[in-house]
Amino acid sequence: MGKPQKVSLQEAISLIKDGDMLTFSGFTIWRRPMAAIYEMIRQGKKNLHLVEVNGGTHDDMLIGAGCVKIWESCWVGHELYGKIGGNFSRKAETGEIIYEDYSHVQMLYRLVAGAQGIPFMPTYASLGSDILNPAYDALGRAGLRDGSNPKIPPKKYEMFKEPFSGTEVALIPAAQPDWCIAHVNMVGSEGTVRVFGQKYSDEEAMKAADKVIVITEQIVPEEFIRREPERNLVPPYLVDYIVELPWGAHPTGCFGSYEADGAFINEFFTKTRTQEGFDAWAQEWIFGVKDHDEYLNKLGASRLEKLRASAALGYSTKVKRGSR
């Protein structure tokens, strides 16, 4: 295991190959590596295979841009700011992407097994759901469970009558994505990673993946981050590339750093219900800006300041969120 390299976002993303299997940090519209999503779209990635505990604004965008061939997860939407993943739904309905549904626990357990280096996890969760309907094994239907892709298990799951108490459990195969792209609050100068607040399934995602790109709000002296090793998430040797990029999770939220930009997400949702709408939106916000700095300037400093989290609360009190 080597030491992580500090690189630019463009360099990090250029290492991802068409067809690679990816997973991400965060939860729905929280702490998603959005700057990396934008850059993957700019670089025109194709045929990506997403395997994630849940989706959100980030994968709906990647799907809208035509970067994704296979989606394995349990949910896409924008929470309060968009009731479905409009791009995901459109491409799912037209058959432009292959979607393989698991439940939250099942997806989590795929990454837990990948992180623990075991071939599967057993679970009682979601027995009786059509998720387990053999007719809905999308990768199987597409002929992709033939062993030619080592990242795709030969079976979606297996029912098993276990020998200890005689119950039936579902065995859910491990996932070890090629890459985890994670947005985090803080990285030490040698690569120790810390997130603030809820950890979602970040630890499992980073440990399951073969390679990890960490995008961080800030790099701090390693000595500082090691004063409280109880608070850290993964050590340097599990990180391959580090990119320092404040606001890199915008428009999703980042506990302790900034609020989710609901207005931005809602506008994305509203404007990208059609492919034409997506293309126009992407022209403005992705292709129309050269890099993350231009993106931030286009958003404007005052918008960002309103989103900045209160030091006491971990979220912003300056954003209008509801109807009153």
């Binding site: 939860f27 729905t28 519209i29 929280w30 849940n54 989706g55 349990c74 949910w75 896409v76 929470e79 309060l80 479905i84 993943g85 799912a92 309905e93 058959g95 979607y99 549904d101 698991y102 439940s103 939250h104 626990v105 989590l108 009682y124 969760a125 979601s126 027995l127 009786g128 759901s129 059509d130 387990l132 309907n133 053999p134 809905y136 029912m159 108490s165 005689g166 119950t167 039936e168 809820q198 950890k199 979602y200 399934s201 970040d202 630890e203 499992e204 939220g253 506990f255 302790g256 989710a260 609901g262 989290a309 609360l313 971990g314 979220y315 209008k320 969120r321 509801g322 109807s323 009153r324």
Partner: protein, 267 residues
């Protein structure tokens, strides 16, 4: 108007009654798993009224948060203000599977007479209208001791059998064969319970021993027959026990001034 008096028709909205009726399903001291939206209003109202010792878990990884500002989703930074634990999915779903969760609040897009719920696709898994997908709905519904669904009652979404069963109710397919059986048969020793109530904008529903839904109370302003007409299946209205109690003035004040003063879920 004393706080504990019931509000009169016209003084509350249908969504208020949904939240209040759901809150009444919580027993004090219970561990409650709640999703985004109305479930948040329900558990927070319950904690402010009848169930001060109820504990709320959000699936993104917060346990017993005491937010002073309403979260917009379960991953929201607000969820962990004065929380006991801020962790992640592995912690809270593990607790769920361990049997810690007494009650879950969930929603959906389509529901059937067995309490099966669809949040995945309407009109066919391949080629139908694609929705968000399962999230943790089927996991939570599978493993909590009781589940309460909060559900807008649109006739075409209250069906005899869900076109896609995302979340397993009382009668479910036993995979891989697909034989349709009682939940107890599928879960065996791991069986813990299932949907205990559905709360719609028209009434409160419960399930009989065979796992079939029936109307328990009807909301003010509706008749049982009207509720039945809003179902695609032959709803059992023979067990109606009366009218759903409306919100109290105190409930409404708490909902609008304490729980959701910003108007996030309450318009």
């Amino acid at each position: 108007m004393a706080g504990n008096e019931y509000a009169k028709p016209g003084e509350f909205k249908p969504i208020d009654l949904l939240a209040v009726a759901a809150a009444r399903e919580v027993n004090d001291g219970e561990v409650v798993f709640a999703g985004t939206g109305l479930p948040m209003l329900a558990i927070m109202l319950a904690q402010l009224t009848t169930s001060p010792n109820a504990v709320c878990i959000y699936e993104a990884g917060s346990v017993d948060g005491r937010p002073i500002s309403l979260p917009t989703s379960v991953g929201d930074a607000r969820c962990i203000y004065q929380a006991s634990i801020a962790s992640g999915l592995y912690d809270v779903f593990g607790q769920l599977q361990r049997g810690v969760v007494d009650l879950a609040f969930l929603g959906g897009a389509e529901i059937d007479q067995y309490g099966n719920v669809n949040t995945t696709a309407m009109g066919g898994y391949f080629g139908g209208k694609r929705l968000t997908g399962s999230g943790g709905n089927p996991d939570i519904n599978a493993l909590a001791k009781r589940t309460v669904f909060i559900f807008v009652q649109e006739k075409r979404r209250w069906v005899e059998r869900c076109s896609y069963i995302t979340s397993p109710g009382w009668r479910i397919p036993h995979w891989p064969s697909g034989e349709f059986v009682h939940k107890k048969e599928v879960y065996g020793k791991a069986f813990r319970g299932g949907p205990s109530a559905v709360i719609s904008n028209m009434g409160v529903f419960r399930f009989d021993d065979d796992g079939v839904i029936y109307l328990d109370t009807v909301h003010p302003g509706f008749t049982p027959e009207q509720v039945k007409e809003n179902c695609m299946f032959d709803l059992n209205i023979s067990r109606v026990s009366g009218e759903t109690k409306p919100p109290t003035y105190r409930d409404l004040e708490l909902l609008y001034n304490v729980v959701d003063p910003e108007g996030i879920f309450l318009p």
